[in-house]
């Protein structure tokens, strides 16, 4: 259930913005934005009514609505089941709920060396017929466990 918080900027579903959108606080966006969105080290949530035609740069990006544009989530990008994204994603961690529509490329750029042991494990599993590869990223809720 959505609750209003004074420390989060809120753009309602009737609001239409054309141009550059930047800020230094978290943003909940449920309206229309065309242009560019840059929140630096803050988080962005695009609500179910959100319609964004812009490149997005934020710390964490959670998408419920429709986006056409490149998404850069410095830490994480999350596509909820109602999300429709046409554009590339660059992030450290991706979470996709089943039902989300995505057309584009996903480029995982980890800040540390955690990816190396995981890749080694997956490659070792390929040589052994019955070993299951470990899942390196968070499994969104509703997705069956890969065990």
């Amino acid at each position: 259930m959505e609750t209003y918080r004074a420390d989060v900027a809120h753009i309602g579903k009737s609001v239409i913005i054309k141009g550059e959108l930047s800020g230094s606080e978290d943003l909940y966006l449920d309206g229309e934005v065309e242009g560019n969105i840059d929140l630096h080290n803050h988080n962005l949530v695009i609500g179910p009514n959100g319609r964004v035609r812009a490149n997005v740069h934020a710390k964490d990006v959670v998408i419920h609505g429709k986006v056409d544009g490149k998404i850069t989530g410095v830490d994480k990008v999350e596509l909820k089941k109602s999300a429709v994204l046409n554009g590339d994603i660059t992030t450290q961690r991706i979470v996709i709920e089943d039902g989300a529509f995505f057309k584009g490329a996903i480029d995982i750029r980890k800040a540390d060396a955690k990816a190396e042991p995981v890749r080694a494990a997956v490659q070792a599993a390929a040589a052994t017929p019955t070993v299951n590869a470990p899942a390196p990223f968070t499994i969104p809720s509703g997705i069956p466990e890969k065990k």
Binding site: V62, I96, E97, G142
Partner: protein
């Protein structure tokens, strides 16, 4: 992340009815062979032509690759692509518009492509153009994995999404209702992909032929 929990009621989202559709595991020799071709250094570009699958994206990015996703069947069945056909009252697919808006990548972009059983369900006018486009955007020596129903599967063979469980096992999940358009014989498959350098057939379960191609 407390901000997000407060907005959306806390905790994990509950499963949608779509994600509750059962997934049936199936061992796949073709996919296993495909994975061997992509276990090279990371950073490869892999194109998945099925519906968005978190499992597939997790698997491919877990190998250190860049995962691309384009749901070709969903795109091909969009109403915007339906145009009047040559005969009065008939309809067809706008192939030109499809190729202008979909699968638009530079030549020789991808190291590997997961076609799944797209060719069995595509509208007829799109089959050859899509295969030709896949050839163009695949790198030399790149791999393409494609599945084809055998005649025994029957015209009512349901459409399944393919989720990667590991390098040997796929999970099939009944997906959107797409009608099986055709079944190919081996020689037709060879003709369709004649530009590719090599083609290997593997017999899978549930009346599926698995085909691994190298450009």
């Amino acid at each position: 992340m407390g901000f997000f929990r407060n907005i959306f009621g806390g905790g994990a989202e509950s499963a949608s009815s779509k994600s509750e559709v059962e997934r049936v595991p199936r061992r796949s020799t073709g996919f296993n062979q495909f994975t061997r071709t992509i276990l090279r250094p990371d950073g490869q570009k892999i194109l998945d032509l099925g519906p968005t699958s978190p499992s597939n994206i997790t698997y491919l990015t877990g190998l250190g690759h860049k995962a691309y996703n384009e749901d070709v069947l969903a795109e091909a069945n969009e109403s915007r692509l339906i145009i009047p056909g040559p005969e009065e009252g008939s309809k067809t697919v706008d192939v030109e518009r499809f190729l202008a808006e979909d699968l638009c990548y530079d030549p020789e972009t991808f190291d590997a492509v997961l076609m799944w059983d797209v060719c069995d369900y595509l509208p007829e006018p799109l089959v050859k153009p899509v295969v030709d486009r896949i050839y163009q955007i695949t790198k030399p020596r790149g791999a393409v994995l494609a599945f084809f129903h055998t005649r025994e599967a029957g015209v009512e063979a349901p459409y399944h999404r393919y989720h990667i469980k590991d390098d040997n096992i796929l999970e099939l999940q009944q997906g959107p209702h797409f009608k099986l358009q055709r079944t190919f014989q081996n020689r037709h498959i060879e003709g369709l992909f004649h530009d590719f350098n090599s083609i290997k057939f593997f017999l899978g379960k549930e009346n599926i032929r698995e085909v691994l191609l190298l450009r």
